[in-house]
Structure formats: C-alpha cells, structure tokens
Symmetry: C2
C-alpha cells in the first residue's frame, strides 16, 4: 500500500477508520475552510481497499454536508456482498452523528488477459513545459497548495473569460501532488474532483460549481509522476452542470474515468 | 407525471413504494429470469421524484443482488438533505429483508437561463430507416421484447464478431419502448443500462457484462419518440469494462449522460 495523501488512521475494528481534518485536506477562504469533496471519496476508497484487501473498480460519493478543520471524520466500511472475485462495499463518513458523505463501490480483480483502451490521450506539451496554474488564487494554507496543476495556456479554456462559450467544453491539465505522492486510486479521486473547474472554462466565465457527487472508475493504474486530466463539460441546464474526465498516465495509459454533477456557481 | 414503464405502487407512507415483479421487467432465459438492473435505477428515480416532488439531476444505482419474478420489491425513500432548490435522497430496494439495490441521488432545479450542450449527436440514419435489432435473441416474454432497438447495420459495431477490436469502442442505437411510453428520467434509466451491449461490439466478440452500477445524469428532457443512445466503451482491464453513454432526443438535444462498470462476460 502506498503512503496516503491524507491522514487515514486505523482502529481496533478493521471496518472502522478515522481521519482528523487539517487545512491540508480542506479548501475555501481561511475563515471558512471545509473538507475538499475529493478527499471524502479518496479516504473512503483507501479505507475500503484496506478493509476488503481488493482494489476499487468503481466508486461514487454522494456529498451531503460540510466537515470543518479541527473535526474528525469517522469512516465506517460496510461490505454487503463478498464474492469470489469482487466485493460490493460502502462507506458512511460522519462527524459525530452528522453524515458528511456516503460512498458506494465495487472492488476486486478477475483473471483476464483482455486489456485495451478506446480513448486516447490528447496531445499536450509536457508538464515541464507548462506553467503552474493557480485556479482559485492564493487562499493560504490549504489543499490547493498541495497540488501542482499545469495547463497549456489559453489552449483548452484557461484563456479569456469573456462570456464566449468554449467550442468543445474541454479543459486539459497535468496534475501531480507537490509532495510527489505515488499515484493510487485515492490520489486519482482527489484529481477527479477537478471536474467543476471545467464549468468556468466551458462557459468562458469566472466560476465553477459545488459537487453533488463524484464517480470514479479505475481501469489500470501504472507508475507515473504526472496525471493528464482531460475534462469535458457535456452540458448545462437549470443551474446544474455535468462533466466527465479521463485520467491518463504520462505514457498515455488510460488509468481511470470520472464524472460529476455540480451546482453551477458564477463569480462574475 | 407520465405513465410509468413498470408497476410502481404507492402506500400510505409517501416515502414507501413497492413494485411487483413480472417477466415484463425481467431479463434472462425463461427458467432464470431476474429483474433488469435498469428497472432498479428507473423505479428508484420514479419513487424519489414523486416523494421529493423534484426532478432527478443525478442518480447512481449499486446492484447488490438479484430479484425474481413473483416477488415484490419494496422501495424506501430517504431524504437526508432537503434544501431550497435541491434534495439529496436515496432509495433502498429490497425483497423481504434482502437488499437488491441502493440508489443515491440529487434532485432539484434552480433559477437559471444558462443552457448549452458541448457534445453533439452523431449522424445516424433515421430510426425508420434502420432494422430492428435483436441483441439477445428471442428469450420469450421479458423486458427485451418491450424495447425497440435499431442500429445502422455494421456501422458502429453490430457487424462481424471476429475478435477484431473496434477502432473507437462505440455502439450507437435508437431505442424507444414498443408501447410508446413518453420519455422521462426513468425510461432514460432503462435505456442507460444498455452500456454492457457495447462491450461485445468493442471487443468484436459475442459478449456483454453484468452491471456493477449505473450512473445517470439528466441535463434536459424534451419531447421525443426515439432516443439515440451513443455508447462508448472507454477501457477494459482485469475482467472489468467501463463505458459511457450520451442520450439524445431526435432533434439532437442532449437529454442525459450515463456511465457504468461491468463484469465482462464472453459467450464465444
């Protein structure tokens, strides 16, 4: 098991984990920090993989409430189905008796030699050739400072926010952790929660959204330093946006796909 | 509310619904029929929309067990969060004390004039110009016979199953209900459960898969007789396949997007 990006702690009960919240796993302005949604999905994935001793195939988080720094999230792992090759599991994440998130998932691996991907990595300059992007400005000591996010300037939508709709709704960026944590399913879950960043780019406006959920599907994780996150906002209507993300290793391997629905928030 | 494709019945408790299972909502060989997974998601969506009196934005079903014709599925609706514009809800679907599926979802609508789609409908012959496809052969009286599925022969993968991998992993087909039910979120959920049909087409082999989950995101539902279901298998590894589907009205409006992970099952 790799070292985790967050402080997940075990207990006497292999189905019960906890995670103290510090600004390092939160986002928002300094006086209103809250746990980053992707950390909810990520910590649940890490807990389930350790409890079930199987890798996650698919996991969906439902975000119900906010958790604040200084509090401790309890993660209770339930495994309603345990089969020969795969398990069906869920995690209830709560602070005290307040439910913060629920994650449903399947875990496992089957004997199979079939391995193929039908989506290809878009052509991007190497991460070393791209400048580091600051998506939310400097809000002090929080999770944003722990991710190194780079995109080819102006190429995929970081450019002018003049109200002109993007032609393809895409935003493509390289991400790695500043601390160079190894890429595992839980770190991919943190990156997958960047889908809302595509909303402002797609609309050509300053804005993003609040995640209602986050769905991650793991195909195959390979060693890589950077992950290319190819976001497409598929559509917006009635105040909600929907988007997908393909996550590639530097060598072009499709490691995971993700999707998300968000409440659209405009800041202009 | 439209008439439903399945027999969802109310009770004295607005949070509690039930659905008697008949072959009309099941699939499989005559001696081994089971509830079609998409009916689980669809019935949960219909129950939540009626309980919350709000439209579904996003819903994910986790499939835990099988339910058989002759049994009755109880659908219990829980609403942990009720906001000004949106609700967070879940449905536990069970037969007796056996959990069959769980659905997590968000419902609602917000005042907003922003409406756009960034994905476009692929160019297909009109449904009237396409022959009806029989994906699983005639297995008698079950749900398959209630869906009229049409694809341009050989064009997107229905063609030869010679073991040659499809170039793009896509399978595009028109679907409507034979009984001409109006298209609503629950009927889209039934159609969204066709993602596994793309697995055989992508691999160029006879096969499909068992759904682990089904995730549906509703953008905007408009009146249409047929729905174009554009499936892409994104990748396969370790015995599991992942795929996405875009669901369009006949006029090209993106009504919904869906995604699914499946256990790959080969029949050749």
């Amino acid at each position: 098991m790799t070292e985790l990006f967050f402080d997940l702690q075990s207990t006497h009960n292999p189905h019960r984990w906890f995670m103290p919240l510090t600004p390092a796993v939160c986002v928002g302005p300094p006086d209103n920090l809250f746990m980053y949604g992707g950390i909810g999905l990520a910590s649940a994935i890490a807990a389930m993989e350790r409890t079930c001793e199987r890798p996650v195939i698919w996991a969906t988080a439902q975000y119900l409430s906010y958790a604040r720094p200084g509090s401790v999230v309890d993660l209770d792992v339930w495994v309603p189905v345990q089969g020969k090759y795969n398990s069906q599991a869920r995690v209830i994440g709560h602070v005290g008796d307040q439910e913060i998130f629920t994650v449903n998932a399947a875990l496992g691996a089957r004997p199979s030699t079939v391995s193929h991907q039908w989506v290809t990595m878009p052509d991007m300059p190497r991460p070393e050739e791209c400048e580091r992007s600051v998506l939310w400005g400097d809000q002090g000591d929080n999770l944003n400072g722990r991710l190194d996010v780079r995109m080819a300037k102006g190429r995929y939508g970081e450019g002018p926010r003049t109200g002109q709709l993007s032609a393809d709704g895409r935003l493509v960026m390289w991400i790695k952790s500043v601390e160079d944590f190894a890429v595992d399913a839980s770190l991919l879950a943190v990156m997958a929660d960047y889908v809302p960043s595509g909303v402002g780019a797609a609309l050509g406006r300053q804005g993003g959204g609040n995640s209602l959920d986050n769905t991650l599907r793991i195909r195959r994780i390979v060693p890589t330093r950077w992950v290319l996150c190819d976001i497409q906002i598929t559509g917006i209507h009635g105040g909600f946006a929907h988007g997908v993300m393909n996550l590639f290793a530097q060598d072009g391997e499709l490691m995971a796909t993700a999707s998300q629905s968000v409440i659209v928030r405009m800041m202009d």
